[in-house]
Amino acid sequence: MNARTYRPGRTLYSGWVVSLVLLAAIVVRVGQTRAAPSPAPDAPAGWAAAPAWTAPSSSLLAHAAPRPDSLDLFGHDAHDGLFPLCTGCHIGAETGDLSALYPDPESCLSCHDGTTEELVEWDGPSVLETNLVFDHGDHLRLVEAEGDTALTCAQCHGDPAPAVLADPRVVASECLSCHEDPADDTGHYVGADCSTCHVPAAASTLGTERISGLPTPPDHTVDASETFLTAVHGEGAQERVDERCSTCHVQDQCADCHVNAARVVEIRSLPPAPAGRGFASLEARYPTPADHATARFAWEHIGIAEPEGANCATCHTAETCRTCHLEPVPEPVAALAGRDTVTAPGAEVDARAPESHESHFFMERHGTVAATSEGSCATCHRAESFCASCHERQAEGGASYHSTNYLLGHAAEAANAVTECSNCHDPVAFCRSCHTDAGLGSAGRLGPGYHDAEPLWLLRHPQAARQQLETCASCHTQRDCLQCHSQLGAFQISPHGPDFDARLAYERNPVVCRACHIGDPFGGGTP
C-alpha cells in the first residue's frame, strides 16, 4: 500500500500558478483504484465455495466509511479560490472515469516544485479502506433522471457557502439527509438493504477491526431471551445473507456457532473470509429454545428429531447427545457432526435425569416407565447390566436395591406387598428356601407352634391367607394346605372363593384340579 505523505503548503501563489494547476488537473491521473476482490479461496472440505462478489463495473470505491483520520489533509480551504470547481481536480466524479477521480501528483509539482512553492511529496491517493459501493456518475444521472435538481458536490461533501470540500469522506448521515428512513433513529440506514451501499465484508478493503466497529443493526440486540438468535436471524435468511449479513459477516463466523454450517445453504452462500484476513470470531451462544425447557421435552425429543438430526444439527454435535445417549445411539444422533470435525463447540447439555426420576419414590413405579419405553431406559442405562444390578442381585454380596439391613425388617413390607417381591424373587425357590434354611419353613404339621402369637391361628387363617397368600407360600408347601383343603384331606374344606370360576380353571389346567379332586370335579360331566 502506498503511504500517503503530504506536507501542507506554506504559501498561496498567484493566478498564473492557478492556471498551471488547472491545466494539470485536466490531465489528472487517478489514484489507485482497487480491483474487485478475488474469488474466495478454496473452501474447506465439505464446504461449497461461496459465489465471488463482483463489483459493479462502474463502481467507484471512493466512498469510505467515516473514521477519525478522515480529515481534509489536503487543505481544500487553503486552496480555495485556486480551484473554484471540484471537478477541476476530480473530473472523474462527474464522468465516472475512475482514472480521473484524483489529480495526478505531477500536477501538484507544477506549483510545489520547491522553488515556486514548497516542494510537496505526494504519490497519489492511498488505497481507500472502504466497504461502500458508490458511483458518482450513476448517482448524478439517477438523481437527474428522477427529475430532481442536479446535485452539487457540496451537497454531500461540504458547506455550500464556501464551496469547498469540508467533508472529504461522506458520513452516512449525509446520505440519510436525503435517504431518510423515518423509522430509523440510529443515524445509519441500518434497516435498509445493506447491499445497496455496501459490498460484502469479504470483498471490502476495510480492516476487520473497522468492520467490527460498524454500527450494530437494532435487531441484533442481545437480550435475555436472545430474540435475535432465536427468532430473527434465521428468518428469510437467504435474502438476508445477500442483502444484509454479508456486509459485516463472512461464512466462517457462522461456523463459530452453527455446528452444521457446512450443510446450510444460506451459510454456504455467504462469502468465506479471504485468505490472510482474520475476521473476529463470534461468541457461540446457544439459547435454549422454549420447547426444550418443557417437562416433556426429554421424553419427546427423539420423536421431534428429524432424520439425520436436521433440526438438531444447528446447535448439537454428536457429543452433546452422547452426554446421555449410550451406544447404539439413535439414528439422528449418529448423523450429527462430531465435535472434532467442526469449529462450533456445540450446545452443552447436562445429563439430567427425567423429572420422573427426581421423585424419591421413582423406584417403586419405574416398571411402568420401563414397560412403555424400554428403549428410553437404554438411552442412559446399559439396560442389561443396569437392570441386572438389582433384578438379579438377589441379596448376594451387598447393597443393591435393598439396604443392607433390609432383610431383617422385610417381613412387613413383603406381607403387605409394598414392593412386588415376586417381580424379582420366586416365592418358592427364593423365599421358601431361605425361610427353610433359617428354620422358618413349614414342618408339615399345622398348629400354633410357629404362629405362636396366635393360639387360635387355624381358626383365623382363612382371611389372612386370602389377603396375603404369597406370604403363606413363602413357607408352606402346597401339600401343607391340602391336608385340609382337598377331597383327599382330613376336612375337605374348599379353598375356593365365591368368585372362583371352576370351569375356566379346569379348561386351563385340569391337572391341578385333580391334585385335590377325586376324579372329575364336575361330576363326570364335561366342564
Binding site: R296, S403, S422, Q463
Partner: protein, 506 residues
Amino acid sequence: MRNGRAGPGSMGGASRWALLRTLLATATLATGALAAGAPAAAQGVRGTLGHAGFYAELRPLVQDTIDRALVDELGPTSFRFEGAPVYCQASDCIRYRAGDVASTVSGSLDANLTAWGFGVSGLSTTVSLRMRERTGGELLWPRTDDRVDVFLAYAQYAREGLRARLGRQRILGGLGRTAFDGANVLWTPRPGWSVEGYAGRSLARALAEPRNSALSGLESFLPDRDAWLFGGTLRARPRPDIDLTLRYQREIWSDRSGLLSERASVDVRAYPFDLLRVDASADWDIAFGRVGKAHVTALLPIRGRTLMLEATGRRYVPYFELWTIWGFFSPVPYLEGQLRMTWSPNTSTSVWVAGGYRDYGETATTTILSPLEDTGRRGVVGGTWAPAPRIALRGEYRIEWSAGAYYSGGDASATWEMTSDVSLSLTGTAFQQIQEFRLGEGTALGGGLAATARLPWQGVRVNTGISIFRAGTENRTLQPDWNQVRGYWNLTVPIGSDPGLTGSQR
C-alpha cells in the same frame, strides 16, 4: 440337598444342565474375550466383571421336640412350654428356638459382557452369568448351592429398525420379569412404535432356570417337563405425549397338558397437560379370568422440579402360575391410595414424605372370634442433607401396618467422601416389628460401617461393609436370639467402552 435342588455332584438331569450351562457360559465368555482381544478396530467388548462376597453369622431357628409330659396343657389345643406356645401331637410337642450360632461365607463371580464386531455390522453377543461358591460355614445361604446361573446368553442382530435375539434372554415389562431360552424379534418402524414377538422355553419366574430344576424338591405338583412361552408386545405412540404398551404372554407345558399362565398387560404414560405426567398400568390374568395388578400415578413437578407431588391409586393381587394351587385359593386384592411428595430445594437437601391407605377386598371367609384387620396404612418420611461438600446425611422413618405385619423403624447414615474416589459411611437402624400371627415380635438395633473406593486403575470399584444387629424382645416370654453379624465386599471391573467413545467420556 436340603431343598432338593440337585448339587454339583449328583448325576441327575439338573447336573447335566448345570454342566451345559457352564460350557455355554465358558464359550460365550471366550467369544467375548476373543472379540475384545482382536486387532480389528471395529471390534470390542464392554461390560463388567465383578466379585461379591458375603458373610453372615446368626442363630437359625431349630425345632425342639419336647416330651408332652413337660408341657402345660391349657386346653385341648393350647399348650405352653416355659411360657411359650408349642404344638403337640400324640406324645410329643415341638417348639421353635434359636439354634447354635452358624455362619456362612459365600462368594460369587459375575460377568456382564457385550461383544461386537464379528465382521457383520449389527451383530453382537451378550452374556450375563454368575458363578457362586460357598466357601465356609455351615449355614446354607439362599442360592449359594446353585453354582452357576446364566442370566443372559444371546446373540443379537440389529439393523435399521429390526432387532433379533437368539438365546437366553429376559423381558422386563408390565408382566414382570420373564426369562426364556428362545428367539425374540423386535421391529421398530419409527420412533415410539414397535412390534415384538418372542417364543422359547420358559424359565422359572425371576430365576434363570427351567422350572423343573429350579423348583423340584420344593413343591409337590411340579411336572417334570419344560414349558413353552409365547408372547408379543406392541408399543405405540399415538400422540407425541402418549406412550402405550400392550403385552400378551402365554405359557404352556411342553406336552400341552395345560396352561401355566396366560396374561396380558397395558402400560401407559402420558402428559395430559404440560407438567402433569401420568403413568398407569394394569394386567389381566386371563387364565383365571380376573384383573391382576394395576396402578395409576399422577406426577406433578412444580417450582422447577424442586417439588414433586405424586398421587397413586393401586390395586395389588398376587399372581400365581396355574401349576400351583395358590391361585385357586382366591386371593383377594387390595386397593391403595398414596400421596407422596419430594422436595429438593437445592442440591444438598432433599426431603420426602408419603402416606398410603389400603383396603383389602372381601375374603368371604368365616372367621371365628374377631376377624383380622382388613385395612392397612403406610407412612414414610425421610431426607438427605449435605452440610458440607463432602458430607452427606440421610435418614428415613417408615411405618407399615396391616393384618399380619407391622413395622416401625428408621435408618440413618452419614457418608464422608474422603476424596473423590473414597468414601466412608456409618449406618444405623432401629425398628420394631410386631407380627400378629408370626414369630418375630420384637425390636432390633443395628449399626455398620461401609466403604467405597474407586481404584486408580481402569475404573475398578470396591465396596465393603459390616453390620451388627442386636435383637430385643417385647411382651414375649421367649424370643429366639436373632442377633446377627453381616459383612459384604464386592469389586467391579469395567471392561471396554462404548464404540465411538473414549473411556473418559463414559
